[in-house]
């Protein structure tokens, strides 16, 4: 038998710490990795400098007309002239304050919700904000004769505003429907289960573009009466239907990942079905599903560009439309790059937010 003295820890070797450590571990850890690193650096060298040159260093930010503007690089003053079109579409310019005000209200609501952290009325306040918000949004954007706000028909909506309206209505409306469908699919009641499965499998099998097309072109053929459904409303219904079934499947994955013991513990405690789902199962299932839910919302945001097919002008459609301006011929690239940047920023923020959510709900320290 022998005993050993406790030894003190030695400092880590140079290959484990600092800049050299990081480079050794991440870029040059093996021959293959080294080769890939060099290839990647070379490709970046090929792409990045010309791109930056086109976008920034040689780009023209100030010229007032298309002819003065440079042809060799981006002409950003084009975007400057068209910015209102990109943002609001054909929304009347004297009413721009309405979407702007809505944006301010949205941010204000967000700040209020944040400030209430820990307050005991927090849930009630947030819930009531959540319920009045759609009405505020509707009356501000669409208007109302009785309230004395001029009506702006939805066919004049467009640009980023339309993109955000379509995406956020799709997201907010599809979430509860998706949860209901996911629960329906797990139900022990055969009829409910069948209906849920039928809805999900049927709608999931149809491309969004066809749903939109049917909602816009074919539905009016079936209804011979004069009920004139708003075109935007039809698109919103189509997109919500489409998104709901995807969310349902994502949440079903989360529900199945919650251990059986959680269901039993909730049952054994005497909770009823609604309590069991709302207090025990869904919080866990949704937490598991956050990355996939947000992924699905990001996909939806990008899919909103398809509303072009039924004659709604989202931001991308505007980028195309704007090229037909005789004063600004040949500036299509700038428009599309601009749209890409705006959408990328929004989606990047969404995915960052999803990361914060995941962190906040993580109780496994």
């Amino acid at each position: 038998m022998s005993t050993f003295k406790l030894k003190t820890a030695k400092p880590a070797p140079l290959s484990q710490v600092g800049v050299t450590g990081w480079l050794m571990q991440n870029l040059f850890s093996s021959k293959l990795n080294t080769a890939f690193s060099f290839i990647a650096i070379y490709l970046l060298y090929l792409i990045i400098p010309p791109l930056l040159d086109w976008m920034i260093f040689s780009a023209d930010f100030t010229s007032a007309t298309n002819n003065e503007c440079t042809r060799e690089a981006a002409c950003w003053s084009y975007i400057g002239f068209k910015i209102n079109l990109f943002m609001y579409g054909m929304y009347p310019s004297e009413e721009y304050w309405r979407p702007n005000l809505l944006l301010i209200i949205t941010v204000a609501f967000g700040i209020i919700a944040r400030l209430l952290k820990g307050n005991r009325y927090k849930n009630k306040v947030i819930l009531s904000l959540f319920f009045i918000y759609p009405f505020i949004a509707f009356f501000l954007l669409y208007g109302s004769e009785t309230l004395g706000i001029a009506v702006v028909e939805t066919h004049r909506w467009g640009g980023l505003m339309l993109t955000i309206v379509v995406a956020s209505v799709g997201i907010v409306a599809s979430f509860p429907i998706g949860i209901a469908l996911a629960l329906g699919r797990q139900s022990t009641m055969k009829i409910i289960k069948f209906l849920s499965v039928f809805c999900i499998e049927f709608i999931r099998g149809i491309p969004l573009i066809i749903i939109l097309f049917m909602a816009s072109v074919m539905l009016p053929l079936f209804f011979i009466s004069d009920i004139d459904f708003d075109k935007l409303l039809r698109a919103l219904i189509g997109i919500t239907m489409f998104q709901s079934v995807y969310i349902a499947e994502v949440i079903r994955g989360g529900l199945q990942a919650v251990p059986k013991g959680q269901y039993e513990a909730a049952d054994a405690a005497g909770l009823n079905f609604v309590q069991k789902m709302a207090l025990v199962i869904l919080p866990q299932a949704l937490k598991i599903s956050i990355p996939n839910i947000v992924g699905s919302f990001i996909a939806l945001f990008k899919d909103t560009t398809l509303v072009l097919i039924i004659g709604l002008f989202d931001m991308l459609a505007i980028a195309k439309l704007a090229t037909s301006d005789a004063d600004w011929l040949g500036r299509k690239t700038e428009g599309i790059v601009f749209v890409a940047i705006v959408i990328w920023v929004i989606l990047f923020l969404m995915s960052q937010y999803s990361k914060t959510l995941e962190k906040r709900f993580n109780t496994e320290h």
């Binding site: 013991g261 513990a265 054994a268 005497g270 866990q284």
Partner: protein, 246 residues
């Protein structure tokens, strides 16, 4: 039904598909009794106590818990479940809720107790199981033994008449078993009706009124702890005891 009888199980048969999991189970339990059920794995002991709060359906026979007959009626099932608490092998605490919220969930939502009242009681119970200082933590930050003690506190916070323990120490590291058993022994002294599925024979000897041995879905032997361990009658039980006591 006798006045002090709290659980009456008569002629219960249960099948999983073709497999018969319970075979003609008859058992009556008096108020305040401590029953320990043991037997080899797959003998139906867990299934039996899970029938008592209807986590498992049974196809034949009847179970009456505190005057309520268990049927498919959701109201009656919830009535029974509000009086019967259960502690599980894998604790099954709710990982998204803090310890204190785990414990107060059922009192607030099922028993309509106020939040303050429930919190006060929960803290008392946590004090009793020796982990009051962990109240604001989350289940995954606690050791297995601590989690199981929280689960016991959660089960107690609804002031149940009956406690069901489904192998409460089987998933614990050996050094944590005693801290949970100590809590259970304390509980047994207070006169609450307990049914424990466990292999902790020391616990059975110390507190049980009756020990029941099950095999192949049937009750093979029922005896006082003394006789159960010293003079087991059935051959099957003798064999079982030899296996687990050596």
């Amino acid at each position: 039904m006798n006045k002090d009888e709290i659980i009456s199980i008569k002629g219960v048969n249960k099948w999983y598909g073709d497999f018969q999991a319970l075979n003609d189970i008859n058992l009556t339990i008096k108020e305040g009794e401590i029953i320990v059920i043991c037997g080899p794995s797959g003998s139906g002991k867990s299934t039996l106590i899970r029938c008592v709060n209807f986590l498992e359906e049974f196809q034949e026979g009847s179970i009456i818990v505190d005057g309520t007959k268990l049927t498919n009626d959701v109201k009656k099932i919830r009535q029974v479940r509000s009086e019967v608490s259960m502690v599980f092998q894998h604790f099954d605490l709710f990982p998204h809720l803090s310890i204190i919220d785990n414990i107060t969930l059922a009192p607030i939502w099922v028993h309509n107790k106020s939040k303050q009242e429930s919190r006060k009681k929960a803290l008392e119970l946590l004090d009793r199981v020796g982990i009051k200082d962990q109240a604001e933590k989350y289940p995954n930050q606690l050791s297995g033994g601590q989690q199981q003690r929280v689960a016991i506190a959660r089960a107690l916070c609804t002031s149940p008449k009956i406690m069901l323990f489904d192998e409460p120490t089987s998933a614990l590291d050996p050094e944590m078993i005693s801290e949970v058993l100590d809590v259970m022994v304390e509980l047994a002294k207070e006169g609450i009706t307990m049914i424990c599925v466990t292999h902790e024979m020391g616990f059975a000897r110390k507190v049980a009124n009756r020990v029941i041995f099950m095999d192949e879905g049937q009750i093979i032997e029922e005896n006082t702890p003394d006789n159960f361990f010293k003079n087991p009658e059935s051959e099957r039980l003798q064999l079982f005891l030899e296996q687990i006591l050596t």
